[in-house]
């Protein structure tokens, strides 16, 4: 170097991945499933867009949230939707949720040596009518759970969910009975508070919140109708139903 110091040998290489921030979360109820994600897409200290959806409706009973590298996330959702359409034409029915989960695993592992840099969370209603959440790592390892948070603010949100959904670190008083599954209004409050709190303390979270609610067939939409800004996305008339709720988050 001109100043007499020695630089280490360098080799420049194209880095195919980047991190676009954001956070997603999903919670399974007894006969419903809630899948939410913020809408901010960022890179470094810049905001690329304040509205880039990360949660997508696949079928009337399955919703997929993708987070990590947005280009891979968006392409992966497109490919999953294509596979579901092939299945629909071949079998004359929608793919069951547990099958979609297995399909996602094989699609991710197929790219084991040049992975989709995405953390997927699949939520929806199983064949038996129960709410389900499946979470995946970038190369396809997956597990069914009651709740999962992923993305930038995962370390802030998951402990909160562990405490409020699984009641971890809370001593159960003898008289008190703990429900296995929380009711929908409580779950929605927890989701909204998770995101407002994550927005406060994580710079990559904010702008907007999109919450998808999947209700099992036969479960009435009572209580949901009154929710401010709710919108139904279901296409069929007598099956599982999908709703979306949008909220603003802080934009700083």
């Amino acid at each position: 170097m001109p100043d007499g110091s020695f630089a280490h040998p360098q080799q420049r290489q194209f880095n195919p991945y980047t991190e676009n921030g954001g956070t997603i979360l999903a919670i399974a109820g007894a006969d419903f499933s809630v899948i939410a994600g913020d809408t901010r897409q960022s890179e470094g200290y810049s905001i690329q867009t304040r509205y880039a959806p990360k949660v997508f409706k696949l079928t009337d009973r399955a919703v997929l949230a993708v987070n990590g590298f947005a280009a891979d996330g968006n392409m992966f959702v497109k490919k999953v939707k294509q596979r579901l359409e092939w299945y629909r034409h071949a079998h004359a029915k929608d793919m069951p949720l547990c099958a979609i989960a297995r399909l996602i695993q094989t699609m991710l592992y197929a790219q084991r040596f040049f992975p989709y840099y995405v953390y997927n969370i699949l939520g929806g209603i199983e064949e038996d009518g129960s709410g389900a959440v499946y979470s995946f790592d970038p190369v396809g390892s997956y597990e069914r759970e009651a709740c999962r948070a992923a993305g930038a603010a995962q370390s802030l949100v998951q402990p909160f969910l562990d405490n409020q959904i699984y009641f971890k670190n809370q001593q159960q008083t003898p008289g008190q009975s703990r429900p296995l599954h929380l009711p929908l209004p409580d779950v929605l409050s927890i989701v909204i508070d998770s995101f407002t709190s994550a927005t406060e303390r994580h710079i990559e979270v904010g702008d907007g919140l999109e919450i998808y609610v999947v209700l099992a067939k036969g479960r009435g939409a009572h209580g949901l109708e009154s929710f401010r800004g709710i919108q139904e996305l279901t296409t069929t008339s007598d099956g599982d139903r999908v709703f979306v709720i949008r909220r603003e988050l802080k934009k700083d």
Partner: protein
Amino acid sequence: MNSVYNGTGFDFTNSIRNTFLQDRGLPLPKATSTGTTIVGCLFKDGIVLGADTRATEGPIVADKNCEKIHYISESIRCCGAGTAADTEFTTALIASNIEMHALSTGRKPRVVTAMTMLKQMLFRYQGQVGAALVLGGVDATGPQLFTIHPHGSTDKLPYVTMGSGSLAAMAVFESGWKPGMTREEALQLVTAAISAGIFNDLGSGSNVDACVITADHTEMLRNFVRPNERVQKERSYKFARGTTAWKKEDIRSLIVSEDVVTREGGEEMDTS
């Protein structure tokens, strides 16, 4: 044999070990950085300084409402961006030295004096002190505005911005600054510039702090604008008594015996 007395300057005895660890993959711990948008603007009667209030540790917000406009003297203030500890201690040191200097010279301190002290200290540390400053004030020679970089270079300008949000703020300044603005116009411009940083830069956020310095008066406007108040939470997460289990309970009274004696015309205890 290493001397116990280290003298002035930084102690670099850990640097060999640190580079070794970094090469092995251990990341350096993140210092609290102010991310930041800070600005300074000259107007008809003096200087307006502005700053956001977010302090970050990597991608996490460490402080949602910190103060980035530091006191140097009655009519001189300094905004700080970069490593929070560095801006804090650097400005405090120079403020102290300026006060001593003012007493020694018998004159009101000048902005160039503070600027020279700051730049000479930062240059001495060769950029290791990560303080990027916007120094502004009014002295016997008139209103002055300077920008000081971590390596010790300075610029004297009518409007300046520093920090990760400096580009967003400067875009506003370049569109809107004109010479001879009124106090209201200058405050509005500074607010717009800081807001541009707050909303478009992830390293800046929360509230707008401002400071108006004129020849006879300095007005500190803490939280001048608060565009990011937290909405009320959906639920209360208060825990019922007994949620945290306890194995043993031991209540001790620290009072063995107590005699209360009321005095005639007693004076109240001085609690000032």
